[in-house]
């Protein structure tokens, strides 16, 4: 099993675990963590594909897409946490 195959498998596992936990957790903060884990899995798939295309100089397009994805994930996480903290303040 080569490095890209190994990390593709890990990517699929992370994506599945994260997605399942996102659906099944009743804790709001836990859902945000699960969403982040799932997006980490997607990013791992993209970067493994970029690496597989040419291990010495990987495809820069998927890498740029993942960079964009990280910033979007942080935006979503930050906004979700503001809403969660607002909800929990009201129920305290």
């Amino acid at each position: 099993m080569s490095r890209d195959e190994l990390f593709m498998a890990v990517g699929v596992i992370l994506m599945t675990l994260g997605f399942g936990r996102l659906l099944l957790s009743s804790d709001l903060v836990r859902r945000v963590v699960a969403l982040n884990v799932a997006s980490g899995g997607v990013m791992m798939l993209l970067l493994s594909l970029a690496y597989r295309s040419d291990p010495t100089s990987p495809d820069p397009i998927p890498q740029a897409l993942v960079l964009t994805g990280i910033v979007i994930t942080v935006s979503v996480t930050g906004l979700a946490l503001v809403i969660i903290r607002r909800i929990e303040r009201q129920s305290r």
Binding site: D4, L6, F7, M8, A9, V10, V12, I13, M15, T16, L17, F19, G20, R21, L23, L24, S25, S26, D27, L28, V29, R30, V32, V33, N36, V37, G40, M43, L47, L49, A50, Y51, S53, T56, S57, P58, D59, P60, I61, Q63, A64, V66, L67, T68, I70, V71, I72, V74, S75, T77, G78, L79, L81, V82, I83, R85, R86, E88, R89, R92
Partner: protein, 321 residues
């Protein structure tokens, strides 16, 4: 040597799955968030293993660092997890959720297995690199070849910051400033770190045109610094919501303006080769400020949303000093 590399990769894979599982299943929120930060650091190492140094840097700063702080402040505020929903349909939800996740996993595994290895777009990017105005591939893709993606990305960040302020700002009164009596060890640490972090951020910003680095790395690092200043030294009255959102908008508006300016003699968001270096560097300078401001806004809005006594200062006149 090769065996050592394989062993390292396998340990990394086990560590990734292990920390991800603990972060999602640990009973306490704080444990969960701390494990998620470890997971983020392992992800950054993994990106470095996959020859993606730019992504590794941003992951370490944003994915583990800033996301970690945002999650941790939420977790510390109410450390106990929510009461689980007690409904009769609980097992139906569990079975349906489990089946959906299993279906997704199996489909994904088959799809990945069936993927063919193509040559990728690396050669095309190399060919176009001469006309982009920068010599680093990732920066060329982000700010020239696929600049539309980047523009919309910072627009998403800006919109998130605006909504966060709107949701959090339940009262317009300013928070009472904490009286500072001499530097605590944490404040002293922040004071030592501040100039060093600023220097590294600026270096990353300008390094971006020829090697790993750029506006996202620098903006995120500066945001981390401002968040540290806030956590270590109490409220920063200079950071009102109005000012932060103005700074966050500046980069996006300038990006759109530059794109539109190119319509005079060319096409939307197409930089002419003769001035592309200048255009990219000036956009990156302002984007750094915008990204930093938007991330700091998300942090401060979170603190304001969770606290019943303190609100984010909304107008300059509301500032305590």
């Amino acid at each position: 040597m090769s065996l050592m590399h394989t062993l390292f990769d396998v340990l990394l894979a086990v560590g990734l799955i292990g920390t991800a599982a603990v972060s999602m299943f640990a009973p306490q929120r704080v444990t969960s968030v701390l494990m998620f930060i470890v997971f983020g650091v392992l992800l950054a190492i993994c990106w470095a293993r996959l020859y993606a140094p730019d992504v590794a840097l941003v992951e370490a700063i944003l994915g583990a660092g800033v996301t970690g702080v945002l999650l941790l402040s939420a977790a510390l505020e109410s450390p106990r997890r929510n009461e689980p929903l007690k409904t009769k349909a609980n097992w139906v939800v569990a079975v349906l959720g489990g089946l959906s996740a299993a279906a997704l996993g199996i489909t994904l595994a088959f799809a990945v297995h069936a993927l063919q290895t193509g040559p990728g777009l690396g050669a095309d990017v190399d060919q176009a690199l001469q006309s982009t105005g920068v010599s680093h591939e990732i920066t060329a893709v982000l700010l020239n070849l696929r600049s539309y993606d980047t523009l919309l990305e910072v627009a998403v960040l800006l919109v998130a910051a605006i909504i966060a302020v709107a949701v959090s700002n339940h009262r317009s009164s300013a928070g009472s400033p904490v009286e500072l009596v001499g530097p605590t060890p944490r404040q002293a640490l922040v004071r030592i770190l501040a100039p060093v972090v600023t220097l590294i951020a600026l270096w990353l910003l300008f390094a971006g045109s020829s090697q790993p680095g750029g506006a996202f790395h620098a903006g995120a690092l500066l945001a981390g610094l401002v968040i540290m200043l806030h956590l270590g030294g109490g409220p920063l009255p200079v950071l009102s919501a109005t000012r932060l959102l103005a700074a966050a908008s500046a980069g996006v508006l300038m990006f759109i303006g530059m794109g539109a300016l190119m319509l005079v003699d060319g096409a939307w968001l197409q930089w002419p080769t003769s001035i592309s270096t200048e255009v990219i560097v000036s956009i990156e300078l302002l984007l750094t400020v915008s990204i930093c401001a938007a991330l700091v806004t998300l942090h401060l809005a979170g603190a304001a949303a969770g606290s019943s006594s303190k609100a984010m200062p909304s107008r300059d006149s509301d500032e305590p000093r």
